[in-house]
């Protein structure tokens, strides 16, 4: 154990004002423990961030840099080139998949939010018609999964195979999200609804005018959960989408990045095809970027969103 004053003086974790968030009774950790913790956390951070860094660096590298590394990934592009991005975004297979994925995510998220909020509000009202059986149906949906084949056959019978709706309708309502929203709505003060109803507002007006404006935080979290799910959807796309020109991003990624099929000139709409590796990496980056954009917004709220469900569900 090092003596306390030294540890305190050199600790990098003190805030600038010199105040410690550590209670009086808690001893400062020894230098050894601090070093072990620091190294362990630093290794974890590198393990998480290095893949992103490598992919971005390689997507920006020019032909000479790639050749210098023996055709593999690069960690530091000596020669920058945006050729891969301009090729990927100039129309062709990746651009089309991006458009499709963005549209599905936007339409799907709006429908999901509207349907889930409506359902959750209905279930949150005391004495609502058939609320209990519906709630049981929702809880059962979390416990039992019907299996791949029956799901597939239902989508097929409905004629939704190879339609974009097959990526939205089967996953439109997530039972867990509805239950989280219902728990949140139940926390809102009853008096607000009652006074509005005395003033002659019907259930829909109360939902739109009172409940939703008060629930922006939970709507944001659930909306972003839905959006991430739509953006990432791979399984349903693999099952239901059969024609190549309807592929969302996930299937394009599988074909051209995971399975390493070459992206050819006619699939790109570009005159000169840049080297394959940066092309693949640029495609990968385009799939990650939307998540990185929304991430700071979710990040502030999601722990709350997850925990409402854990506590009240």
């Amino acid at each position: 154990m090092t003596s306390m004053p030294t540890t305190r003086g050199s600790s990098p974790r003190r805030n600038p004002a010199g105040r410690s968030s550590r209670p009086v009774w808690m001893e400062s950790p020894s230098r050894f423990v601090q070093v072990v913790k620091f190294v362990a956390l630093a290794v974890c951070v590198v393990l998480v961030l290095l893949p992103f860094w490598a992919v971005i660096a390689t997507s920006l590298a020019d032909q000479a840099t790639i050749n210098a590394s023996g055709g593999g990934m690069v960690l530091w592009p000596d020669g920058f080139s945006f050729a891969a991005y301009s090729a990927v975004l100039s129309g062709g297979v990746v651009t089309r998949a991006l458009t499709i994925s963005i549209l599905i995510t936007m339409v799907g998220t709006s429908l999901s939010l509207a349907a889930s909020a409506g359902l959750a509000y209905w279930l949150s009202r005391p004495g609502a018609f058939a609320a209990r059986p519906v709630l049981l149906l929702l809880l059962g949906a979390i416990l039992f999964s019907p299996g791949i084949i029956p799901n597939y056959l239902v989508v097929k019978e409905l004629g939704l195979l190879d339609s974009y709706w097959s990526l939205i309708l089967p996953v439109m309502i997530n039972a867990f999200n509805v239950i989280v929203m219902r728990a949140f709505f139940q926390e809102l003060p009853r008096e607000l609804f009652e006074s509005a109803e005395i003033d002659g507002a019907n259930a829909v007006t109360v939902l739109v005018r009172i409940v939703l404006p008060l629930s922006k935080a939970v709507l944001a979290v659930i909306g972003l959960f839905y959006a991430v799910a739509y953006w990432n959807a791979f399984f349903n796309a693999l099952l239901y989408i059969t024609s190549n020109d309807k592929w969302p991003m996930s299937l394009v990624l599988r074909t051209y990045v995971v399975n390493q099929s070459a992206i050819s000139t006619e699939q790109l709409n570009a005159e000169a095809v840049p080297p394959q590796l940066p092309l693949q990496m640029a495609t990968l980056v385009m799939a990650i970027v939307p998540i990185l954009i929304v991430y700071p917004f979710i990040q502030r709220h999601f722990a709350k969103g997850v925990l409402i469900g854990a506590v009240k569900g």
């Binding site: 003190r14 951070v45 029956p150 791979f234 990650i288 722990a303």
Partner: protein, 277 residues
């Protein structure tokens, strides 16, 4: 919702039929339990074995890592540093399996960072991706990379709810930080462990369909087939609808039984479990 959750559930009746897609559901021939003959099919048994081994590895290894990470994070004094680290560790959770698998290929694959580095230093390349013997290790490390950080949320929340006075009293009585962790933090998390364990059991026959189907081509079916991919390959690809539905139903029923059984067991030991009776 009812259409896509409960109608398919009823659709499981085809497990007992010789399903022909061009006939309506009422016009199918009933074959009783004939479709369940898959239970002795060697490819199915192989899939079952892979599933169980993966589940075992993942529950043993994947469980303690988020907890350890949460304990370290919780012990950090700086709030801002803690929050920054949390945002970094949660990030992979939001990426799809396609992206995670692609990232792993670029890191560990034949032309990946690791091998480029090894070759440049004349150390010889290692084949990790596409090597059947290492497939389970690869799958497990992908699961850890993607979800260990996210798993800390629930532990951190539970730790923050522990009464701080207990720690203070223990410290005054002379218990060091390890003893406080062992005698206060871990026992307080017992209920949560049991809850998570039961939920995990329900999922135990479901191991990463997307993750595996993406990488199945590289390592072959023998090493990678699990029940879900077996159902997909036999049903959707080979059009053996009745057979695949029977296997899917088998899996769902066992999953539900495991959850209910584990919950009963939790009640026997005086814990709350997922639902109360």
């Amino acid at each position: 919702m009812i259409l896509f959750q409960w109608v398919p559930l009823a659709g499981n009746v085809i497990a007992f039929q010789e399903y022909r897609p061009y006939l309506p559901l009422t016009g199918q021939t009933w074959v009783g339990f004939e479709n369940f003959a898959f239970i002795v099919d060697p490819t199915f048994l192989n899939a079952l074995e892979n599933t169980l081994v993966l589940t075992l590895i993942q529950s043993v290894l994947v469980f303690p890592i988020p907890l350890a990470l949460a304990l370290v994070l919780n012990s950090l004094a700086g709030e801002q540093l803690k929050r920054l680290l949390q945002s970094i560790f949660y990030l992979p959770h939001f990426l799809s399996w396609v992206i995670v698998v692609a990232l792993f290929q670029q890191m560990l694959g034949n032309a990946g960072i690791l091998n480029t580095f090894l070759l440049q230093n004349d150390l010889g390349a290692v084949q990790i991706v596409g090597e059947p013997d290492l497939f389970r290790v690869l799958l497990t490390s992908q699961v850890i990379w993607k979800s260990a950080g996210w798993g800390t949320i629930i532990f951190l929340a539970a730790i923050s709810r522990i009464d701080q006075e207990q720690y203070e009293a223990a410290a005054v009585d002379g218990a060091g930080s390890w003893r406080r962790m062992w005698h206060i933090t871990l026992p307080s998390l017992k209920g949560l462990f049991i809850l998570l364990f039961i939920l995990q059991l329900g999922e135990s026959l479901t191991v990463g369909f997307e993750q595996i189907i993406l990488q199945q081509g590289a390592v072959g079916r023998e090493a990678s087939e699990v029940i879900d991919t077996w159902v997909y390959n036999n049903g959707v690809i080979d059009q053996n609808w009745g057979l695949a539905a029977a296997a899917g139903l088998f899996k769902s029923v066992i999953g539900v039984c495991l959850v209910i059984g584990a919950n009963k067991l939790a009640h026997v030991f005086g814990e709350r479990g997922v639902y109360e009776r």
